[in-house]
């Protein structure tokens, strides 16, 4: 029997804004299955986002949802978590939102290790504005603002997150719907800041210009270029060229979670006087 998503979807908000062939629906459904499996109640769950195609996702889901300013979802989420640490928080956005305009918030959220999950929908392009290059557009790839090909080197977002101190970093793709769901659950279960990068496709803004003419060809590209950690261990550097590794890339459970540590160190006590 097909999975019943209705419990978590605001049906009145559909249809969504995403183009036919967009990978985001697959990610959203994997998120729903993971959250349901975690047993999180809808009332205790917050989904925050920035600006862009991915950031429209929270509006479709029946949680406490917050669509913030461009790149700032992690900063808003930080305030929410400090005000009410009992809430379960997922902050999501696209590659441009999280690593360009929101790059500063991203690295500092990783460094602080506040208990929340960051999901980056990496489609290598600014989709909503029509296909401009982002920090993850591969060198040489075409974009409306890179008519001669991308001139800048691209970010490896997982390496960035690990270097900045995130205590859980993983990667999957919109082709790998079930491993992605499993990875989400592992991230949600991690105490501290978890980062999950999902490699996904934008047929409209990226694929058309870069020899991936159909949504299916974009999914096949993901399938062909994703390598599990186990596979990667047996491959030479040459064989790994152009591929990306999926699964849990980094996990460190030895570091203090920010709010727990804050309360312990500062002697935080729930109000006695005040007003």
């Amino acid at each position: 029997m097909a999975y019943n998503y209705e419990e978590y979807i605001r049906k009145g908000r559909l249809p969504h804004i995403w183009c036919p062939g967009c990978g985001y629906g697959i990610i959203m459904k994997s998120m729903i299955r993971a959250i349901a499996d975690m047993g999180w109640s809808k009332d205790e769950t917050v989904i925050a986002s920035g600006i862009g195609c991915a950031s429209r996702l929270p509006g479709y889901l029946d949680f406490n949802t917050l669509h913030t300013t461009h790149g700032r979802s992690l900063a808003f989420a930080t305030g929410i978590k400090l005000a009410n640490p009992a809430l379960k928080i997922v902050a999501l956005g696209g590659d441009g939102d999280m690593s360009a305009i929101g790059g500063n918030h991203f690295i500092h959220a990783c460094r602080r290790n506040i208990d929340m999950t960051v999901i980056i929908f990496n489609n290598n392009i600014y989709g909503m504005t029509g296909g401009q290059y982002s920090p993850t557009t591969p060198a040489g790839a075409k974009a409306t603002t890179a008519p001669f090909g991308m001139l800048e080197p691209d970010f490896d977002l997982c390496k960035l997150a690990i270097a900045a101190g995130a205590t859980f970093v993983g990667r999957s793709t919109s082709y790998h719907a079930l491993p992605m769901e499993k990875l989400f659950k592992e991230a949600f279960s991690h105490k501290g800041l978890s980062v999950v990068e999902i490699i996904t496709g934008c047929p409209t803004g990226f694929g058309r210009k870069n020899n991936q003419k159909t949504p299916a060809s974009m999914l096949l590209w993901q399938k062909d270029h994703a390598v599990t950690q186990k596979m990667a261990e047996k491959m030479s550097a040459e064989e790994l060229e152009g591929k990306f590794v999926t699964g849990i890339l980094h996990q460190d459970t030895s570091k203090n979670e920010y709010v727990e540590n804050y309360d312990k160190v500062t002697g935080f006590t729930l109000e006695q006087g005040g007003k």
Binding site: H67, T266, L270, E271, G274
Partner: protein, 375 residues
């Protein structure tokens, strides 16, 4: 709890006022001359059931304050000119999403880095018009250390009552000067909390256009709704309906305009028989008070109209005198922001003169007296 007499710095009084009002969250970024507020609350909040965080920049501090408020915590941030410029993005979000919070701007000169350790009063128009789009604005202007305390409490009250960010425009002199003040006893000053919904979750409209202000449920309380900076419908979801967009835009402004009398607070010092009225706030109001007394000794009937609310602009109070006095004098630490508004409000009913200093020094009573004598 009884009244307590304390010798305080102006910025410390803001921190104490915030605790009195029930502030439970502060996010900020170090910037002169406001940093003491962050330093005090870093030390004091944890024992008052609140949390503090120093964010990576001014933008994120403003964002965190809005996030914390959505989770139910009364929230404050403090900054000065360059930081205020950065906060404007999410300040606009706060107006659009109708999230209560308080922003302290301890004004210094500008533009850009200006003189961080000197006073300024040149962010008046930034406070009103700084973030893009039409939007409401409430801004308060304390001029004593006690008012730093009392106006902080009032800023929280107005933010909670009208579900919007409220700005406190202090300045370097008021922020850093020390005065003895009596901290009001608990219950002495009114403390207002935001309205909570009484309806069922299904019936909850966080942005009901049929009333000026809707109750605001904190995240996690069972009222699941959507918050966005896009124009939205009554449930918070993005809309392209021109009818709903128009209704929302007009309602946001009406919240302030229709509650002018509740929001605007002014002090009238020797105004009743005055022939000349000095309109001054913040540090300039202090010099003006001295000037009024000195002028009266010389037989010149001067008065001081001191706004504790600068936005919405106290037009009604100005109009009370504009038809019967010989003139208004506006001393300000700006080349002419507040005087434009006074002239607009006076509407030609009497003359309006302007004096200023923008060399990082305060205006003196003597400068004000000389200007009134020349009127």
């Amino acid at each position: 709890m009884e009244r307590e007499r304390k010798f305080l710095q102006g910025n410390d009084a803001v921190a104490l006022g915030a605790l009195y009002a029930g502030c439970k969250f502060f996010a900020g970024y170090p910037i002169t001359p406001s940093t003491e507020v962050a330093e005090r609350l870093a030390a004091w909040l944890p024992s008052h059931g609140g949390r503090f965080i120093q964010m990576e920049d001014e933008i994120s501090a403003m964002a965190a304050v809005i996030g914390a408020s959505l989770a139910g915590a009364k929230s404050l941030t403090a900054t000065s000119g360059p930081g205020m410029s950065l906060k404007l993005e999410n300040l606009g979000y706060g107006y659009m999403a109708e999230v209560p919070c308080v922003i302290l701007n301890v004004m210094r000169g500008g533009p850009s880095t200006g003189t961080p350790t000197g006073p300024g009063q040149s962010d008046i128009m930034q406070a009103r018009w700084g973030t893009h789009g039409d939007h409401p604005c409430i801004a308060l202007t304390p001029s004593t250390v006690y008012e730093q305390f009392s106006q902080t409490v009032r800023a929280f009250n107005l933010a909670e009552k009208y579900r919007m960010p409220v700005i406190i425009l202090s300045d370097e002199i008021i922020g850093h000067m020390r005065e003895a003040i009596e901290i009001p006893a608990k219950g002495e000053l009114e403390v207002i909390d935001r309205m909570m919904p009484a309806c069922s979750a299904e019936d909850y409209k966080p942005y009901d256009n049929s009333q000026l202000v809707s109750p605001l449920a904190p995240f996690g309380a069972g009222y699941r709704y959507h918050v966005t900076g896009l124009n939205h419908d009554e449930y918070g979801f993005p809309t392209n309906s021109s009818r709903l967009i128009g209704l929302q835009e007009e309602r946001l402004l009406a919240k302030v305009e229709e509650n002018y009398d509740d929001i605007v607070l002014t002090e009238h010092f020797h105004c009743d028989d005055a022939e000349y009225i000095i309109f001054a706030f913040g540090s300039s109001a202090r010099a003006s008070k001295d000037a009024v007394l000195n002028l009266r000794k010389k037989g010149i009937k001067a008065g001081l109209l001191k706004p504790l609310t600068i936005w919405p602009f106290p037009d009604k109070d100005i109009l009370k005198y504009a038809g019967k006095v010989k003139g208004f004098l506006v001393p300000e630490l700006s080349l002419g922001q507040t005087v434009r508004e006074v002239s607009r409000a006076v509407g030609g009913r009497c003359k309006v003169e302007h004096i200023y200093r923008v060399d990082s020094e305060p205006i003196s009573p003597a400068q004000i007296e000389k200007a009134v004598e020349a009127m």
